[in-house]
Each structure stands twice: as C-alpha cells, then as structure tokens.
C-alpha cells in the first residue's frame, strides 16, 4: 500500500465573526496530497469562482495551489478571493474525507459526475445552496448591516460544511430529497447542521475556544458561541435581530415540538434532531471532564474534540443503517445506536448510546426499533430462516440483480408485499475496523418499492391507510416503501431496516402531509 501524502491548508475555523485575541480564528487542516489544477480543481471538487450577479469569472492563481495563507492577516483572508477558493475546497474536502473514512468507501455524488463544483461567490444574496441539477454548491455574498463590509457565506465554516453535507447525504440517500413525511426533509437539514457543528468541534482549535479558560461546567459549555450556526451570516441579515442563523442548543427539551405547527418547516424541525444530538455530545464531554478530573487544558480540549469526532463518525455511519425512504427521527436514532453498537459494542468510554437515548427521549424521539436486546433501540437481526441456496456471495457484494434474486427468493421471509414494484437501487461495500481490531467488510444494499393506485383503491390493500380529507377518489397516488439490507462479510443478512409499503400509520401521515402541502397539484 502506497504511502498517503498529505497537504495542510489554512481555513477559517468557524466564522469571521469568531475571533480569538482580536483575530479571525483559523485552523490548518490535513488533506490528501492530490494533484490539483488551478481552481483548485481536484479529483472530487472543482472550484470555479464565477459571480453571476456581476458576470465575472475570476482567474485562479497559476500553478499548483499551496497554502500561502498560513499566518495571513485578517484583511487578506477577507479580501483575497484565492483564499476564499481555498477555504471552500479545504472544508468540503475535509468533510468528504470524514464521510469516506466513516463509511469505508468512496462516496459518490448523486448526480453521477465525479467532481462537485463549488462557486464561492456565485451570486449576490444572503443564501447558499446545494444544487443537484447544477452539480454544484453555490455561495452568495451580501452587504453587512453596518458599515461597508461584505459578508461572504463561503467564509463560514458552518455554511460550507452544511451544504457539503447536503451533497453527500444526497449521494448516499438520494430518496431523502423526495417529498415525504415531515421528518425526512427535516433530517436533511438537521443532519447537515449536525455535521457542520460537529465538524467545528472536532477541530481542537475550536474545542479550545468553546471550553475557554473556565468553561469546565455544562452551563458554560452550553453558552458557547460555537454552538450557534453561521453567526456572522445570521447577525448581518437585514431585518433580523439574531445572534446567529440557528442556535438549536437553546431548545429546552420537550416532547411537544414534534407535534407543534411551528416545527413543521424542515429547518425548524431539523433543530429538534440537532438539539437532541448536541445535548448528548455536551453531556458526554462534561462527564468526561468530571470523571477524569482533567486538569490540563490541552487534555480537556482533546477530550472534546475526540467526543465530537466520535459522534461525527456515528452520525455519518448511521446513514448505512437507515431505511432508504421516508426516514423518521426514530429510524435515525435506531441507526445511530446500531452503527455504534456494531463498531464499538463496549460503550463504556463515552457512554454515547445511553446519552443519545436519554437526550432524544427528552425531545420525544424514541428509537423505531422496539428491541431490548442486545441493546435497547438497536435494530433487530432478521428472525426468519432465509434461503441462501441460489445466492452467489461474491456477486451479492456488488450486483443489484444478484441482490434482487436474493430478495425475490426470500420475499415472504422478509415480509415484502407482492403487489408493489421492487427495484434494488444500490449495492455498496462498507469497510471498517471492528471491535477486535480486524477489518470488517460488509455490504449495504437498498431496495425501493413503489405502488401506484387511485385514492379510492386504498381500502383494497388490506391495510388501514386513510385517504386525506377532501382528496378525490380519482386522485392518482404513489405509495413507496423500501429497505436496507446489510450483509456481513460472509454474505449473511445481518440487518433488514425497512419501511414497508403497507405501513398504514406512516403512509397515512405521508399522504396527509403531502396533500396538505399541495404536492398533488392543488392546495388543500
């Protein structure tokens, strides 16, 4: 195996608003030393500095970009577009590498191409977005409320990480962008926020700022500015009096949010997920500080960064254990618990699983898995005796047709409804280091089921799926279900995580939500 060479690049560690001793907090991140063309333009990311509002394409610096910004002044960081390009490249690459390391495989973009394009100054406006159709992340800029400064969303670590996480999640679970139950869109937003926040805390420079000199107790930690998302962007938006774009940690734990109308919009609802996870993270960090009686600042910082890194890996790896469609917060919690249980059956260092169960429960989120063994909330292994007779182990690890044949042979044992169209959408390898230190190779396959019918045919399915009030019987509707199959290194099915197409409660909720929000062409 060849030696992996690395390069270090300077980034804005959090946000130009966050300053230490009067200077913008920066960090140096380590990335693989890949051949880069001007842009930077690498194998997975291509930065194109085009501004559609002024119709300007900035010329990238000639030659291979190296970090010329270590120790650069704040003025240069803010005013040099070449640094902005480096910042988005480095932050996005860092997030991408975290995903690949956690999942043990290359992560494909959902649009089929290999290079995600990033435009750090794409337009004039207080916004940024992941645009699948443009295969790009587009960052806006806008004038600050006070003074003549310009606020660049591309300089906010949170914003860049958030949008990159959207792109990566779309590559792993493309169906999560489809209209569905309220939790699904919220999970997209909440997950992206969570990755952004944990990505910041996993930098020791940031963990040190969060901890401060006296921040050894939970209250002080929870006051940290770093728990706010996109501080500068939020503060400078005209017409607002915010301190940041979002500060989910301030949600007082309550089970009422889930049913409150205020928490229906995806960004707002996603905050429930973020708050539950970040409370668990802070509980773990705080407990570590107390139980170890950490005296040295450096060790305390390291504990925080490690805890953030651990939860970040859990959050990413959990995606492999979620159903491919109509995901709920409860599904994601079970996936988190299962992913971590598989990687570290012994939870005694961080006690993260217990902390997550407790924190999510305070926000009214229970694991979807009713299992008590081997551990509460972890997905259950399939109980039925499965047929492996016709399956070829080697093909099962990469061939959707082979997986389909396995599913077909076991459709009754897997509890699949025969009336729906079934398609295996992906088969991916997953490699990780097991609890015993050995490399474990698993296979993750996803299938999706689709059933098209008229609303007045719902009653004929044998499941009590309700037609939304006011929906005409002639309305064409589509019911969807799906499952994730996780095969172990010997080709045996370990987990079957699924949302059945005839799950009456979920389908009723989905239809009602879509009908109410005008997804059928007419607004209710």
């Amino acid at each position: 195996m060849g030696r992996v060479q690395t390069r270090e690049l300077t980034i804005v560690a959090q946000d130009p608003h966050v300053r230490v001793r009067g200077r913008i907090l920066t960090a140096r991140v380590v990335l693989p030393q890949e051949p880069l063309l001007p842009g930077p333009r690498g194998s997975r990311i291509h930065v194109v500095d085009y501004d559609s509002s002024t119709h300007t394409l900035y010329r990238p610096p000639a030659g291979l970009p190296e970090d010329g910004f270590a120790g650069a002044s704040d003025e240069e960081l803010l005013a040099n577009p070449h640094f902005h390009a480096q910042n988005v490249y480095a932050i996005s690459m860092r997030i991408l590498k975290r995903f690949e390391r956690a999942l043990g495989r290359r992560v494909a973009w959902s649009f089929g191409g290999h290079q995600l394009k990033i435009a750090p100054h794409a337009f004039s406006g207080a916004n940024a977005c992941y645009s699948k159709e443009n295969e790009a992340l587009l960052f806006g800029y806008f004038p600050a409320r006070r003074g003549k400064r310009t606020v660049f969303t591309c300089l906010s670590h949170d914003v860049v990480a958030h949008e990159t996480a959207h792109a990566l999640l779309d590559g792993i679970r493309s169906r999560y962008a489809d209209p569905s139950i309220p939790d699904q869109a919220a999970l997209h937003e909440g997950f992206a926020d969570l990755i952004a926040l944990l990505s910041v805390f996993s930098l020791e420079e940031c963990a040190a700022v969060a901890l401060g000199r006296r921040g050894r107790d939970g209250w002080r930690l929870r006051q940290s500015l770093l728990l706010s998302l996109a501080k500068q962007v939020g503060r400078e938006l005209p017409g607002t009096r915010r301190r940041s774009l979002r500060r989910s940690i301030e949600l007082v734990p309550s089970a009422r949010y889930l049913s409150a109308q205020e928490f229906e919009p995806p960004h707002r609802r996603g905050e429930i997920l973020v708050a539950a996870a970040m409370h668990a993270f802070l509980d773990v960090w705080e407990r570590r500080l107390h139980s170890l009686a950490v005296r040295h600042q450096a060790r305390a910082v390291e504990e925080g960064a490690q805890a953030a890194s651990h939860l970040l890996t859990m959050a990413i790896r959990a995606l492999d254990y979620t159903p491919p469609i109509d995901v709920s917060f409860g599904d994601y919690l079970s996936a988190l618990l299962t992913a971590d249980y598989e990687a570290s059956p012994d939870d005694s260092r961080f006690h993260f699983r217990a902390a997550l169960r407790t924190s999510f429960a305070r926000f009214g989120v229970r694991p979807s898995s009713p299992a008590r063994r081997p551990e509460a909330g972890v997905w259950e292994a399939p109980s039925a005796e499965l047929h492996y007779g016709g399956a070829h182990f080697d093909s099962l690890a990469r061939d959707p047709d082979e997986v389909f044949q396995f599913v077909w042979a076991n459709r009754q044992e897997l509890g699949l409804f025969g009336g729906a169209f079934l398609r295996v959408e992906s088969v991916r390898p997953a490699v990780r280091v097991g609890a015993d230190g050995f490399v474990v190779r698993e296979t993750v396959a996803e299938y999706v089921k689709t059933l098209r019918l008229r609303a007045d045919e719902l009653h004929s399915l044998g499941a009590p799926i309700d037609r939304p009030a006011g929906m005409p019987g002639s309305q064409e509707i589509e019911l969807r279900g799906g499952g994730t199959l996780i095969f172990d290194e010997f080709g045996k099915l370990k987990y079957h995580v699924r949302n059945p197409v005839l799950d009456a409660g979920r389908q009723t909720l989905r239809l009602e939500h879509l009908w109410r929000n005008g997804h059928f062409g007419t607004r209710p």
């Binding site: 900035y58 010329r59 100054h121 004039s124 806008f142 005008g518």
Partner: protein, 380 residues
Amino acid sequence: MKLVSVETRMYAVGFGDCFLLSFHYSGKRSRHVLIDFGTTAYPSSREHEILRPVAEDIARRTSGKLTAVVATHRHRDHIGGFAPHPRATAPGAIIAALKPSLVVQPWTENPLLGDDARHPAPIPRAAVRAGFREEWMAMARNNLPNRPAIRHLEGLGGESRYVYAGQRSGLEDLLPGIRVDVLGPLSPRQAGRSKPARFWDREFAAAGPLTPLFPGFPAMRRWPLETRWLLNRIRDWHSDRILELTRAYDSDINNTSVVLAIRALGHTMIFPGDAETESWTGMLARRGTLDILRRATLLKASHHGSANGTPNVLWEALPREGLRVLLSTQGGVYGHNVPCANLLKRMRSEACLIDSRDYPRGSSVAVEFVAGRPPRKLPS
C-alpha cells in the same frame, strides 16, 4: 328605499378583473359598486383598447355615478385601469368622472402608514438603497406595483377606507339593505406574524452592489472550456431564482387582497380578489368565516382560477347547490397552471361555472339575485 334585486356583472377583460355590482331599489333607483378595473396586455396601449369600451359601458349603466370602488389589491391586472391619463377618453379618466363616494382598499395601501408598518412595500426600500439588480427592478416595475393607479385611487373618492378583516367597509352605509363582511386581508396580528420579513425580503434587502467584488484581481474574458457548462447553468439558475423570488413577492401582494362577503336578499356573494392559500388559511381560522362561506351563492374565483386561489379547504367549505362561480381569466399569461384545469373541472361539475373566456373580449355577463330564488344568469 327597498332593495329589489342585485346584478353582478363580469366583464371579459382577458387576464384581469372587472366586476360591476348594481343594487336596484324600489322606485327604479340604483346604486353601483365597481370591484377592480384592470387587465394585462402588452404593450400597455393595448390595455386601453380593451378597457375603454368597458369603462364606457360602466358609465352608461351607472348613469354617470358610481357609489363606490373596491380596489382589491395593487396588481396591474386589478387596478391598472384606474391609472390617470390626460385624455378624457382614457379608461381611468372615464371612471374618475363617475366620482365614487367611497374607495375601499386593503390596509396595506394606507399612505399614512409609517416606515415601521408591517406590510409589503412596492419595492423593498433596502433593496433600492442596495442598488439591486436592474433586471429585477425592471420585472418589478412591469409586473408588480402600479403606483400611478394607487396614487390616483387615493384621491378618487370622497372617502377612502383601508380595511382589514373584521372592519367595516363603509359600503353598508351607502347601500341600504345589504351587509358586508370584510373577511380579509388579515393584519399581521390577526395572521399571527410578529415580523414582516420573509426570507425573500431579507434576500432582496441583502443583495449587494453590481460592481465586481474584487476589482484588484483579474477576471477572465474567455471562459475556459471546462467551465462553460457550469457557468451557463449558474447564469440560468440565477435568472430562475430571481423569477422565483418575484413570484413569491407577487403571491404576497395577492394575499393583501380585500376579501368581501356581500349579503343581500338572502344571498351571499364572495369577492376575494386574488387571495391565495396563505390568506385563505388565515381567514378560515377566524371565527365566523366558515359560517359565511357555507351560505355563499356566488364566488368570484380567486386569482383567475389558480389552484392556490381556491384551495381545497375553501372549496370544501362552500355549498354546491345553487352556487355560481364567476371566473375572469385568460390562459397562457400566468404560466400554464393558471387557470388550473383540475380545479375548473371540479367547479364545472360540482357548481355552475361562468367563464369569461366564453364571451367576446370587452363584453359582459351578468347574474341576477332576487329574494327567495336561486341566482339567474341574465341573457347577454
């Protein structure tokens, strides 16, 4: 003075609204209310061609006197005809000569509102200060506000009223025997909104200057081959985004529409301007609105028959028997979904739909309401 009959006349003005309500009293006395007077055509001189004969017909039918004008909201296709013009034969001048005693507009048009008023301005002022893109400004000027008409309306009548839900319109005082409920628009407090800024407000306001951000750094005149696909895409995306924001703004203006329920002779007529889903949701949540809607015998289809203009919750609340629906619209002007084919199918099959497109441009069709009988379409 006893009310004998009410005549509701819809003018076929293309994509626009123009309704003349004539209240006939004993002794052959009549009073008239004009609800909106606008259309959308290009160039604007074409609008005059469409509206002039309509204005002349209104002048004839009202015998030179309008009791009141209701300008539901500021969109050109509703009030563009009121715009002043030096020539006495212009539509705006003809209507102005009818000297309405009362002009009713939404509360958002009150010229006395201060800077802190929580209402959508014609063009966000911060955006003007920030020098927002000319292209959007052009679209905004063309499609959204209608300042001359608004200004002219301010001085058109003897009295101006700027109303929101639950207020008195002033029409009752001028029209014996009728009752008018103002169902909308809602004030921010009624709508439960504590702040005026929606996302797009902020985005407009936040838009920056048009000069290059980094003048000290060289730009590329020729786009490298490997970037052309993306750059063209971003440019198109940017245009789409501007259009989307403009539409969002457009919708918000629609939701400032004055929504009136006019009750007379046992009938209830609903004139909602261009109110869309957001506005209906708020109105339906208010006590009493559902009871009024359940008694409706006439509905002016909101927003030219768009799906958002008549959301399902509204349609389900309306009675079917005896319900007449007046639709003033034209296809192909406001995207392919206006009017909404599915909605029209339901309106046609479940109620009695009277569609302006079935009548020659400039002509009119009327429905008569008398006590104890269902509404009757009068011969053209």
